[in-house]
Every structure is written in C-alpha cells, then in structure tokens.
Point group: C2
Chain length 188, copies 2
Amino acid sequence: MSVKPVPRPRMTATARRAEVVEAASAEFAMRGYVGATTEAIARRAGVSQPYVVRLFGTKKALFSACCEANFDLVTETFTRAAEGLPADRRLAAMGDAYGDLLNDRERLLMQLQGYAATGDPEIRALMRDRYAALYRYVEKLSGATPAELRTFFAIGMLCNVAAALELPEIMGSWPKADAAPPPYGAAR
Amino acid sequence: MSVKPVPRPRMTATARRAEVVEAASAEFAMRGYVGATTEAIARRAGVSQPYVVRLFGTKKALFSACCEANFDLVTETFTRAAEGLPADRRLAAMGDAYGDLLNDRERLLMQLQGYAATGDPEIRALMRDRYAALYRYVEKLSGATPAELRTFFAIGMLCNVAAALELPEIMGSWPKADAAPPPYGAAR
DNA sequence: GAGCTTAGTAATCGACTGATACCCTGTCAA
DNA sequence: TTGACAGGGTATCAGTCGATTACTAAGCTC
C-alpha cells in the first residue's frame, strides 16, 4: 500500500509562524530555552525541523518571538479589561482579568522562562523593555499610585511562581476578595 | 622543562562538594539548568568534569543541591534577622535582611532558574516543598497576618525579577517605610 | 611500611541538536 | 502553457555534552 502522504494544507508563512510560536511556547515553557529542541517544536507544529529554523532564522529569534507574543497577550488582556470603566475601577478589573490568565499554566511558565533566560543580553533587553513598557502602560491606564502599582505587579509575579509550583493556597485568590483571604495555615 | 603539575591541595569530598555547588550556582544562574555545562562548572571549581559528575551522580542532582543551598541561605538569613526582636518587628527586619541579599544578583538568578526548571517533576516537588516550608516558617516566626505575609513574599518575588531584568526603579525600595501596605484597588 | 580507602584525572563514547544545502511542488499571472 | 515564486521536505553535518571506564596517587591505620 502506498502511503499517501496526507495532503498537508499549505498556509501563508505568516500563519504558519503563528502556529509555530504557539507550539514553541509550549516546549519552551516545559523545558526552557536551551532544553527545548527545534525538533520537538517542529513535531508539535506539524512541520519539519529545518523549516522551523528557516521561519525564524535562529532558535533565539524564535524564543524572542514567544516572549513578545506573551507580552502582547497580557497587554491586550489589560486593554480589554479596562475598556469603558471609570479610572478608579480599572486596576481591579485588570487584576481580575489577569486572574483568568493564571489558568494557563503553560503561558505562565513561558513567562518565567523569559526571566530565566536574561543571562543572555539580547533576551534581557527584550524582557526589560517589554516589562517596563507594560508597567508604564498599566500606570497610565489606571492612574494608580506608585505603591498600588508595585503591589499589583508583585502579586502578579507571586501568582506566576505559585502556579509554576502548583501551590494553589498562595495563588488562588487575587486580592480582589481581600476581605477573606483563605486562612491557610490558620491552625486547622 | 617538565611542567610540575601544581600539587593541587586535596580536600574532603564534603568540602569540595560545597565549592562545586558554589561554582555550579554561578553557571546555572547565567545559563539555566540545561544551558550550563558540567564542563564549565568543573573549570570554575578547579576540578575535572568527570569528577563533578561523580560527586553528585547526575547533573540534575547537582542542580537540586544548588536549589537547596539557596533556600538554606535565605532561611538562615531570616532566622538571624528575627533573632531577639519582639514579634511585631520581625517581619520588617526580615524584609531588610532580604534587601541585602538582593545585591547578590547571581543568587537571585539561581532562584529564578529553580522556578523555571519546574517543568521537571522532581525539581518542582523540591521547589514547592522548600517554598511552602519557607512560607510557613516566616509565618510562624513573624506572626504576620495572611495578607501581610502574601505581600511580603510577593514583593520579594518582584524584586527577584526586577534584579534579573536590571530594573532598579522597581526593586530599589523594599516597602519597609511603607507603614501600611496599601490596599491597591481602593480608589486612590 | 603495607594495605586499604578516598580524592582526583585522562580518555573516550554515544546520543543529540541547531543549522545548512539542496530539491520538490502547488499556484497563479501573463 | 509556462515560468517563477513561495511553502515545505530530505539528507546530512559539525560540534557539544553528560556520562562511563579505567587508572593514579595521597593519606590514614595498624
């Protein structure tokens, strides 16, 4: 029997790039920048390994694209969350929206991988610029005080790590319902 | 001229292990779990590559040892900081002490690498257990409320990332002077 | 000072991995 | 019909890297 080679649908390079970024994010998230292989990424995306390399030039460029995509998603999420709200309710709304993003453990780990890869100067520059831009963006959008702003980002970071560690007690509650934080640790 | 091979001082395996952990932490911090090579670690520690492997069995065991050492240091630092202080001043003292640790960028990055490596179940279990233990330890030592506690660790995490990104504006100030952790979200 | 234990090295290997070079084939305008 | 461009695969390499094996030598103990 001749194995008919499954007429693989052709896409525009742009669309394929997006698919590869998705697949790569999953691999990078689990195995890190160096640990993830272009081979595994290619398999997950359903294309050949050399084609993955060719679409982005180098593995590092692909990793950078994944970091950028991650920041893009968060930025868009914040934008939508704040839309049409009075200034004094926007920060809380963004917190809620980020809480939803926390369910995507893969995305969280990808973000951590970005920070972990800052030993490389290029990656560090990318991450620093995007993080600083996000920080300023939230500041402008919410009008929060510096202290509020720092706490906002600090809690976000804690949630990232708590999700990575699978420590639901710590993350669980984005402090919107600060009224009743789960009394884990309270002598049961 | 026969090169006399510099009579390298022999140490106990225990002492050598400690030196290797130090060297390995530096390499892991910069290049990540997979990116760091046992060869580079060995060179930095002044021993041969096979010996590094033999001292710990596997690269992963060495990485685990580095993670443990990191938590040990933080735990000891907190213990010393709280010693002899009334309960209501201990959390602030621990914050100050951690602020000093923040100058060691290498140690911060090593910690991030630990979180980033949680794609591996064994590493994740280690990191989760130690982090949870540290959390409970600070809780018991300080008697802080759950909300205070979470803010404490959240700020710590933000500082880690800020240091990795070299964003001094964000880290810089540990909120010791922050009389009251502002309920961000309260209309400023 | 003989003999055992322990610190440490040299040599080498097998598996892997990112990248390169080259070829194939739909599709669509002229 | 053709030809050229863009999407995509095959084959292959050159370099790494963690681990294993086998060996050497320092120091302790009796």
